[in-house]
């Protein structure tokens, strides 16, 4: 691959944010080079490409770096116009998708992290808050799946599907590592069936980090978490 149109993704195997970008690149059929970063020993290139946050993912296209996973997703959508669309064509539908993407990012992600990191009474409180937010999300998603059953033919997954994969992709590893059950099929049947259907899509399966490796990482982080 020459320098022109070269795409490089700087990532880390366990990062849900990196995973979002990988799924998008694969859906669009964009060839790319993947560079694994050791987050305890970040490369000079990463620090140069993302001086503000010093984080992965960073997408470098034609030598120009882009950071922030959702910004990268919008860039991919706008740059590679051939192939499947990740966002809806209609502006109002796009606004709805962006609204819920923001909800997932700001409400659900933080709640899951709080629930995972806490114990005792704080944990009970965090779980309760998470479940309440999941209920709000469940209700909101009925708008997108009026027939109630998400299914994905031809891998036609989009923005919200990608973000959801990154949110719930590790729940089996979370469950095994610290008994954290964040998705209850009885309380949130739509979200549960959506995640289950997504997990069968090949590009989602391909990008899922190895289960045992993930369990080990979660356990390691929990043992070594600063108190």
């Amino acid at each position: 691959m020459g320098e022109e149109n070269k795409v490089t993704l700087y990532g880390m195997w366990a990062s849900p944010f990196v995973r979002r970008v990988e799924i998008a690149l694969k859906i669009k059929g964009i060839p790319y080079e993947y560079v694994e970063e050791d987050l305890r020993n970040k490369s000079q290139l990463l620090l140069q490409y993302n001086p503000v946050h010093k984080k992965v993912p960073v997408l470098v296209h034609n030598g120009k770096p882009i950071a922030e996973s959702l910004v990268i997703l919008e860039y991919i959508e706008e740059t590679w116009k051939n192939g499947p669309k990740i966002l809806p064509e209609d502006p109002y539908e796009r606004a709805k998708v962006r609204f819920w993407a923001s909800f997932i990012q700001q409400q659900l992600f933080d709640s899951i992290v709080s629930a995972a990191k806490s114990s005792g009474e704080a944990h009970e409180k965090a779980m309760k808050e998470l479940f309440e937010k999941l209920t709000v999300f469940e209700e909101g998603m009925k708008d997108f799946f009026p027939s109630g059953t998400p299914h994905f033919e031809d891998e036609n997954i989009g923005f919200l599907d990608i973000i959801l994969c990154s949110l719930f992709g590790y729940r089996k590893a979370q469950e095994e590592a610290n008994g954290l059950k964040i998705l209850d099929p009885e309380r949130h049947p739509l979200v549960y069936s959506w995640v289950t259907a997504l997990n069968e899509v090949p590009v989602v399966k391909e990008t899922l980090p190895p289960h045992d490796k993930m369990v080990a990482l979660i356990q390691f982080l929990r043992r070594n978490a600063p108190h």
Binding site: I66, E68, E74, R98, F99, S102
Partner: protein
Amino acid sequence: MEDVKLLGAWPSSFSYRVIWALKLKGVKYEYVEENLFNKSDLLLRYNPIYKKIPVLVHGGKPIAESIVILEYVEEIWPQNPLLPKDPYERAVARFWTKFEEHTSPTFFSFFQTVGEEQKRAVKEAKELLRIIEEQGLGEKKFFGGEEIGLADIAFGWIAGWLRTMEEAVGVMLMEDDRFPRLQAWIENFKAVPMIKENLPDHNEMLAYFKQRREMFIALATS
């Protein structure tokens, strides 16, 4: 042509973001002032998830979250664009717009806390302002280049609200000559005619902020 309604609140910089975008694009709209201490049924119906302003209602269809609204406004009314055409430049603008979102907790903390917690917020806030000035703005006149764009609107609160916040709290974040380029940006931003005509009254804002600050101090020290 479908009607446009904006539910907003006069002290809110988030509300003004949408006003600026609509005015810059010459979009006619009906403005509905919300009392945030007594929210209308309309607001609760249009934004049941967060119950917050701003909400844009276009042809009866509501959109919440200011940046989501701005992206929508940009797509429906492309005149006087807030985003450049080039996808990379757009990504840069969106990156800084997202960065602004990340800074909210620090500035809220600066306004709402006291003592050690506030000292930490002050230090963090100054670091953020430094990054915004050096890496976001750089040598440019505006975040958007020669004209204001999405990121300028997202950082608009620094131009119209920060000084008043500092006065109400009694702590300076942007001391005199420490942030010359950001200071120049503030002057340039406020000089844009559509912005100049649409900024809250300083005295009213100060009185409001002082009242809110007193409330937060009471909460923090109770």
